[in-house]
Symmetry: C2
DNA sequence: GAGGCGTACGACGTCTGACGTCCTATGCTT
DNA sequence: AAGCATAGGACGTCAGACGTCGTACGCCTC
């Protein structure tokens, strides 16, 4: 009856899976690995960590969801790209869940997108150079062409907003921009099946570039405002039209 | 030899685990579940989804990492809180990984924290009311007391920055503030073992409140700047002092 | 009869072993 | 030399058993 007195309130046995998770992270840190570097195979991990394959695999699934580990079937495991996919997945689901009743979360996502670009307006206007303007203008041209043909231009749109942030050379900001764009576009179809006024949107992007070219911070911010205005309006319209009429549920069950 | 012709380039068999993941998410959406609502047990999921327990469990580990599903040992499974823990975990690891050589990522995290508060300066100054000022001032008092006793006040610091964002009533912004704060504080010990000039930091917070009370947007932004200034400076100092001397590695292995 | 303790059951956690699928590489065939 | 066939390594899936955690029911004690 060896009475190993129980630890504090929290679980006495630190879950095996959790331990393995931490040890794999520690392994990456300890060996200074970079994204893409190979990791030990499952069987090796099982041995060296003294855990069963189940525990190791479940730990890896957690790390995989966070893009800390990347698994390639048939190849092996590698250090992940440490992107923000987890944020995107998580937020996208939250938006979908809240979309049953209202679109508040989607509205907040759009608000954050706008905040990022407007909050950095001064830095951006100062940092953008001719090559950037040319590339941005080229994207706007593509958008216009596609809009006139009645097609969409999601890829150009994403590229535009990423490129806009590029001169800052701040990875995190660029990735956040991409992440929130992804969430937005991933759930946009829920609003209206491509009701986007293509031409109008393309013109809004053009105005952003024009203002930046003139190094006019105020105009730049106004252009951003004008870009997101229609989006918000569309959201509000959708709220009023369908509202909680999606299903007869007036409020909380 | 029933030859079911292979699908497109990408994996012909959509991984079972992946399917289960999507189906669980769909289940939550379809039934309009909210955070905290109970989910079917593992065994029920295995039956209804026709998958083995391993696949179901691995799928759940993924959803658990994204805080879409919460597992309570001995109790059962529930809809998660849909927080931003995944972002925190992911970013924190990235900061640790980059900390071996430089602290660029940590610097970027701090930059985003600053961007959030400065970018919303106008809205915040307009939205803050007396009760907020009082609560914020109370936190500053606590900070000062603790600082004078030579103790730290991480909890008060976090509460301060969250409360600052509260009047906006934008959940996402508040959660992002908390998330980036968490990342920052989670990795701060790597910089210097609580070298924080407590008193100075507390005063910086006081100045933020004072500026907001005067409804002075410019002063508010300046106070934010002054708050993060020392933090950045500490970071730069640490970079110069220890630099890549953490271990003798001059550069990439 | 009220309170406390022990057992039974449900649900998640871990382990083991086997087989399927994907990819690569080796070596034979043409 | 080019192409195919086979063997091996590594991840994916399945099945069954046992351990741990919590709860609830029921027995025992007072």
């Amino acid at each position: 009856m060896a009475l190993d007195f129980p630890g504090p309130a929290t679980g006495r046995h630190p879950l095996r899976r959790q331990e393995v998770t931490e040890q794999i992270k520690a392994f990456i840190l300890r060996n200074h690995l970079k994204p893409g570097d190979p990791l030990p195979t499952e069987s090796v991990l099982c041995e060296s960590l003294g855990a069963s394959r189940s525990s190791v695999r479940e730990a890896i699934k957690t790390l995989s969801a966070l893009d800390i580990v990347e698994v390639r079937h048939g190849h092996g495991m590698y250090v992940g790209r440490l992107s923000l996919v987890a944020l995107v997945e998580s937020l996208a689901f939250r938006v979908q869940l809240s979309s049953r009743d209202d679109f508040t979360v989607l509205g907040e996502v759009i608000g954050v997108r706008q905040l990022l670009e407007q909050g950095l307006a001064a830095s951006l206007v100062a940092a953008l150079e001719e090559p950037h303007f040319d590339a941005l203008a080229a994207l706007v041209s593509e958008m216009r062409e596609l809009a006139d043909k009645g097609e969409t231009f999601v890829e150009q749109d994403r590229a535009f907003h990423l490129l806009l942030m590029e001169p800052l050379k701040i990875d995190l900001v660029q990735q956040l921009t991409g992440a929130f764009w992804d969430v937005h576009s991933m759930v946009a179809p829920l609003l209206a099946p491509s009701t986007a006024d293509g031409r109008e949107t393309a013109d809004a992007h053009a105005e952003i570039v024009a203002a930046a070219r003139r190094r006019d911070v105020a105009a730049f911010q106004a252009a951003i405002e004008a870009h997101y205005g229609p989006v918000r309006k569309q959201l509000a319209t959708h709220l009023r039209d369908s509202g909680n009429a999606v299903d007869g549920r007036p409020e909380g069950r």
